[in-house]
Symmetry: C2
C-alpha cells in the first residue's frame, strides 16, 4: 500500500496506521477514514477496472484485476420527460443496479477486500441481510477467500438463497442485530477476519468512485445536488469524500449539496438534522418498505450530520407511499430500482414541490439497487393487463 | 440511415429495402439480415454508448444517446480456479447480467428501437414472457413510445410484475404462443407497430456487439470457442455475425468456433444438427428449468444450423441437473446467472469431459441473464446455514 496514507478519526482526528482493521476510533468510537498525504490531478484512463482507473485516488499499489467482477462504470441517465414533468432542467439517475451483484455495494466490497488482501488477510466477513451480504459473498467467492456472512435469526428463506448460492459460511445469529455489527468487528480484529461492514473506511473508499464517475460523466462539472438513500451513512460519506477529493485536486471548483434521503419510518439522521443535533438517536421500531435503508442506529450517522452541517447539505424523509409512487414513476422512464433506490426521486419530488430545488438546478439521484432484489414491493403497485383472443388481436392493438 | 445497407434473406439471398419492418423473406420465409456495402476498420472509441462506439458497424446515421439505458459494455471475466478445475488454460464469462434490465436482450432492443425510430414509427411491441418483454417495456418507456407486450394467457403473476412496472400496454393472448410470433409480425406490418421479436434483423445487429466487446477485451484476438445458450437463434446469429464482420475488416484473422448450447428438454437445433439436417423440427413438449431457452420451434433455427455447418460450429445439450450444478459452480466464482445463463458452463464441462475442448483452448461462455430473474431455481440448490448464539459467535468463527 502507498506510504503516505493513514487512517484518521472523523470525530476527534486521532491518527491510526493504515493496516488497522478495526474501523472505529479507540478513543471516541467514531468511524475512521482514509486520509491522503498527496493527491495529484491526473488523467483518468478510459479503460480498465474501477481500481485501475482510480488508482491515484486509492492507497493500493497494485490494483489486482483478478479479484474484480467488473464493478462501477455505471450509466448516468438524463431523465427527459420526467424532468419536464417536475419543472426541472436537468435530472439524472446514477444507475447502480448495473453492478455485478446489482447494487452499489460492490464498489466498497472490492476496496474492502483489496485492503484485506493487501494486509495478507485471507478471511473476510460481513453483517447484512441484503445487498451487502450478497456482494461480500460474491467477491469472497471470486477471490477464493474464506467468507463469513452473519445474518439475524428468522431471516426469510427468500433472502438467504441469493447469498447462499455463492457458498459463503453462512451463520444465523441469535441476538441483537445492531450489537452484531460491533461484536463482529471485535471478534474479527482478534481472529484475523476482516469484516467489510457497511461503513468501514475502505468501503467508503469504494463508494467515493460514484462521485468520480458522476463528475466524469458530466464533463467535470459537479451537479448542484446529489441525493443519496441513506442508512448506515457509509455510502453518503463515500460520495461526499469523492467530491471533496476532486475539489482538492482542482478537477471541480465547488462541491454539490448532498441530500441524505431517508424513509419516514426510519429516519434517525433526518430527525437529528431537523432538531439541529450532531448526534443520532436510535429509532425504536423502524418500519418502512425500503428495508435496505432500515438501520435504526446508523454507525456513521454523526459523521453524515457533520458533513451536512459543514457543506450546506440537506436531510429529507419520504413516506412509503411516496417511495412506491416514485418507484413506479422511475420505472415509467425505464429504470427499475428497489424501493430504497426510488427514495431519492421521491425526495426530489418533495423538495421540488417545496421549491427548495429550483428549475435550473442539476440534480443526481443515486439508484442504489435493482428492483428484482425485493419483488414483494411489486404487490403494492396496480397493473393493468388486458386479456384478448388471437382472433381479436388486431382489433386490440389498434383500438 | 446509411445508404449502402440492405436486408437480405439468410435462406435464399433475396434482397429487401432497409425500411422493411417484416423480418422474414416474402419468398422462402427464412429470416432476413442486414448486409453492408462497405465496412471499414476503425478505431473503436473507448467512451460513449454502445450505439456510439460501434456506429461504423451499424446502419444508423445518428446514435441518439437519449434512448440508451447504458446497454452493453459488460465485463469479460477470466475464471481462474474454475478453469484449473476443468483442466483449461483460459475460460471466460461474458457477464450480460450487468445490462440495464439484467440480460443480453437490451442490446438488441436498443437497435430494434433505433430502426423503428429511424423509420418514423412510434409504436413498438414484442412477444415474450421473460427477459425480452422486460427489456422492450423498459426501452419503450425510456423513449416514450407506445409499447405493446404480448404474453400468453395463464402467465404467472410473478412474471408479469417486472414487465408491468414499466407500464407498457400489456395483453394476455389466448391461443398458440408460437403462432403469436408470426401473427404479431403481420399485424404489426399492417398497423405500423414495430415488433422487436427475438430474432428480427435489427435485434441481431444489437447482439453482434457482444462479439465486438469480446474481441476488444481479448486485445483483438478471437477466442477458440464461444458458447451461447440458444433458443430462437437470434443471439447466436448476432454473435456469429459480429465475428464475421470483424474478420471482414481485418480486426481478427480467424473466427471462433461457435457452440449452440441447448437444454436437453428443448433442443430442436441440437437434434437437427445431430441428424445432419439443416431444418429444425418442432419439439412436442419442451420441458426444462431453463425457461428462457425453451423455444420449441426456433424461428432462426435453420440459419443457426447453416452457420454451424459453414464454420465448424457445434451443438450440444445439457440436462437440467447439469444446468443447476453449473449455476452453483458459477456462483461459487462470484457470478449468479439465471439457469440458461449457466447452460454454457454446463456445456463446457461436458465438452471438456469428452475431450472435445482441449486444455489450451480459450473459451468464452455467454452468461445471458441474472439469477434474480428466476429465483424458483434456487429451491433446487442445497444450502448450508449454521445457527449460532451471540455468545458462541467467536467460537463459531474460529472453529
Amino acid at each position: 500500500m502507498k506510504k503516505d496514507a493513514i487512517l484518521i478519526c472523523t470525530g476527534c482526528g486521532k491518527e491510526f496506521p493504515l493496516n488497522r482493521i478495526h474501523p472505529r476510533c479507540a478513543r471516541c468510537n467514531e468511524p475512521l477514514e482514509v486520509a491522503y498525504g498527496r493527491l495529484a490531478q491526473v488523467e483518468i484512463p478510459a479503460r480498465g477496472t474501477m481500481l485501475e482507473r482510480y488508482r491515484d485516488f486509492l492507497p493500493f499499489s497494485a490494483p489486482r484485476p483478478e479479484i474484480s467482477l467488473g464493478e462501477g462504470n455505471t450509466p448516468l441517465l438524463k431523465a427527459g420527460a420526467l424532468a419536464e414533468e417536475l419543472g426541472m432542467r436537468s435530472l439524472f439517475f446514477k444507475n447502480e443496479t448495473q453492478n455485478p451483484t446489482w447494487s452499489f455495494k460492490d464498489r466498497g466490497t472490492v476496496t474492502g477486500l483489496m485492503h484485506a488482501v493487501s494486509l495478507g488477510i485471507t478471511k473476510i466477513g460481513t453483517v447484512s441481510t441484503g445487498n451487502m451480504a450478497v456482494s461480500v459473498a460474491a467477491y469472497g467467492a471470486r477471490a477464493g477467500l474464506e467468507t463469513y456472512v452473519l445474518v439475524s435469526q428468522g431471516i426469510a428463506e427468500e433472502k438467504i438463497a441469493p447469498i447462499a448460492i455463492h457458498a459463503p459460511r453462512l451463520l444465523t445469529v441469535d441476538g441483537d442485530y445492531g450489537e452484531l455489527y460491533f461484536r463482529s468487528l471485535e471478534v474479527g480484529q482478534r481472529r484475523g477476519i476482516y469484516f467489510i461492514n457497511s461503513d468501514v473506511p475502505f468501503r467508503v473508499e469504494g463508494s467515493k468512485t460514484i462521485a468520480f464517475e458522476i463528475c466524469e460523466q458530466l464533463g467535470f462539472q459537479a451537479p448542484a445536488y446529489v441525493v443519496v438513500p441513506t442508512s448506515s451513512g457509509g455510502n453518503f460519506r463515500g460520495i461526499q469524500k469523492g467530491f471533496e477529493e476532486l475539489r482538492r485536486v482542482g478537477a471541480i471548483d465547488r462541491l454539490p449539496r448532498m441530500v441524505a434521503a431517508q424513509a419516514a419510518g426510519c429516519a434517525p439522521i433526518a430527525a437529528a438534522f431537523g432538531r439541529g443535533s450532531l448526534t443520532v438517536e436510535r429509532v425504536g421500531e423502524p418500519r418502512t418498505i425500503a428495508h435496505a435503508i432500515e438501520n435504526p442506529f446508523p454507525p456513521s450517522g454523526n459523521q453524515v450530520l457533520r458533513k451536512l452541517r459543514a457543506h450546506g447539505g440537506l436531510a429529507v424523509t419520504v413516506t412509503d407511499e411516496e417511495i412506491i409512487a416514485a418507484q413506479g414513476f422511475m420505472a415509467g422512464t425505464g429504470i427499475f430500482g428497489q424501493p430504497e433506490g426510488a427514495v431519492p426521486l421521491a425526495a426530489v419530488k418533495k423538495l421540488r414541490a417545496e421549491n427548495v430545488l429550483k428549475p435550473g438546478d442539476s440534480v443526481v439521484c443515486i439508484v442504489s439497487g435493482a428492483g428484482l432484489k425485493y419483488t414483494a414491493a411489486l404487490r403494492l403497485h396496480r397493473f393493468e393487463v388486458r386479456p384478448v383472443t388471437m382472433e381479436r388481436l388486431e382489433e386490440a392493438l389498434v383500438g
